[in-house]
Amino acid sequence: MNACLQTIADYSFRSIGFGERLLPKTDFTLCQQFTLIGSGMLWNIYFGLIALIAGFFLATAIAVAKNSNSYWVRKPAEWFIFLFRGSPLFIQFFLAYETFVLLPKVGVDINLGFTEITAETRWLTKAWLGAAIVLFLNTAAYSGEIFYGALKSVPKGDVEAADAYGLSGWPRFKRIIWPTMLRLAWPAYTNEAIFLFHATTLVFFSGFPAWQQRGDALYYANYFADKTFNPFVPYPILGFYFIILTLCVIGVYGLINKRLNRHLPENQRQRIKVRPQIIR
């Protein structure tokens, strides 16, 4: 028991570089596997959250752009969606990594007011920035398509009612179209969020190196499976963590879904159904 507490103290933040430097080499205990794989989950959560939050805004912009009447606004959005939805995420990671490696190594000073930091292009070759950017663009494309579909099915009557009230342009979008679009898209968007978290496991298997063995959950699970030659322990642990993460995502998105649907009578509300049909 005490040994396990020690292990937790040593390894629970190993994936972000705190605690014991060397990974366990022999005599792997269940406790070590649970702790390290759980530690790796920090990366999965980080990538998922960054991509989801940033991707949400780009996705809205892309959906609106794809719905635009102007050829020059619509086409780029269509191409963006086609590019990221039509190719495997795995290839996108490789391609992005090779591109970032070839970029000239320069730094840009950014004044944050209280301190000055130098943003360098070599950060792009690191997983924390480079992979996050790829995931961000990827989820923006997938969610953009979902939002576009929802935008198309916003009831005509709602928009006409907004017109009748004298709303137009930005206020009409913000107060009428956008909330309805989100409400209609939300069940599908929940699925997208779940599979985005699943997709984060690809990061350290696709070009981006795990610096100082700081990897995500699958990286550590794979490490243990390679070392013990026994896949029946680490992968179920990984599965356990991901099921919990999935349940959390469904919980949070369910709450938002409830809020988006709160003005509707009970029988018209949309329920969230997990439909596991999206891998990249």
């Binding site: 086609f82 495997p88 795995f90 290839i91 591109t99 490696v101 997709a199 298997f205 991901f242 049909q277």
Partner: protein
């Protein structure tokens, strides 16, 4: 390949490129595209079969069979598919070796898991250590196909299960009223009708399968990603065709390949859907009828 390629260092321009793109390794690279196509061609029907089995089991009246079916369709819900790919490749390999070990070496008494090693008698090794290289490669590919089929079978089981549930209840009740047995109802009424409902999900699955093929690289098969990394890496003067880091261009080539593949599939699937909807009493069928009439 060409006769003028004997002295690569003296070549320039187009002839250099022509020779470079026809080296033995490049031929292997082009061959790996066929590997990917073969994988898709084998996996799709096998996964469909697994999926059909899973969906049927999930509807079974026998409880353990139903649990198995439900469990199988549920595995892909919460866990990343990549974890399954990495898991099944080792697990299947060990399962096969374990079974052969039990059959071929019954007198062996040592435990199979000794610490961090998995030890079976040499006769049970898969493939046998004396086997030629191509047997090892084929076995690796076979494991990869089986892994893909299991994972995609679970996806397909989900889709087909939904398709079976979408068949109107009245159809099945009518069949029962006509005195058909459960088996007859299933094969004559349910199965022929479920495909229209399952097709959107299945075409989605087809796209997913195409986009999952680069994962072959993780399963240890020499696929297009392997060769793109291998050939694109910078080559020094020691090599016949020295060049810098060209991996970016190779991956761009792969990107174009996949985009083309998904685009072609998209068009073909839209055609198939239009064909299957023809004359159906659905919204799609009605829209087609109106378009012709006007």
């Amino acid at each position: 390949m060409f006769s003028f390629c004997a002295e690569p260092k003296t070549l320039e321009g187009v002839t250099w490129l022509a020779c470079y793109l026809t080296t033995g390794k490049h031929i292997a690279f082009y061959g790996s595209f066929i590997t990917v196509m073969v994988l898709i061609a084998i996996t799709a029907p096998v996964a469909l079969l697994f999926g059909f089995g899973g969906a049927t089991a999930a509807r079974s009246t026998i409880a353990p069979l139903r649990w198995f079916g439900k469990g199988y369709t549920a595995i892909v819900r919460g866990i990343p598919d990549i974890a399954f790919f990495l898991f099944f490749v080792i697990a299947l390999d060990q399962a096969f070796e374990f079974l052969r070990h039990k059959v071929l070496c019954p007198e062996w008494t040592d435990p199979i898991r000794q610490g961090n090693d998995f030890v079976v008698c040499s006769a049970a090794k898969l493939p046998l250590s004396s086997s030629p290289q191509w047997v090892h490669e084929t076995y690796g590919f076979f494991l990869a196909v089986l892994t893909f089929a299991i994972v995609f079978g679970a996806f397909a089981a989900n889709v087909l299960y939904g398709g079976m549930r979408a068949v109107p209840r009245g159809q099945l009740e009518t069949a029962e009223a006509y005195g058909m047995s459960r088996r007859q109802t299933f094969w004559r009424i349910l199965v022929p009708q479920m495909w229209v409902y399952a097709l959107p999900g299945l075409s989605n699955l087809w796209m997913i399968l195409i986009k999952a093929t680069p994962l072959l690289f993780l399963l240890g098969v020499e696929d297009i990603v392997y060769w793109a990394r291998e050939l694109g890496g910078s080559k020094t003067q020691v090599f016949s065709y020295p060049h810098g880091d060209w991996r970016l261009y190779y991956f761009l080539g792969l990107l174009v390949f996949y985009l083309a593949l998904t685009k072609v599939s998209e068009v073909a699937l839209a055609k198939l859907m239009a064909r299957l909807t023809k004359g159906q009493a659905t919204m799609g069928g009605e829209a087609q009828r109106k378009a012709v009439a006007s």
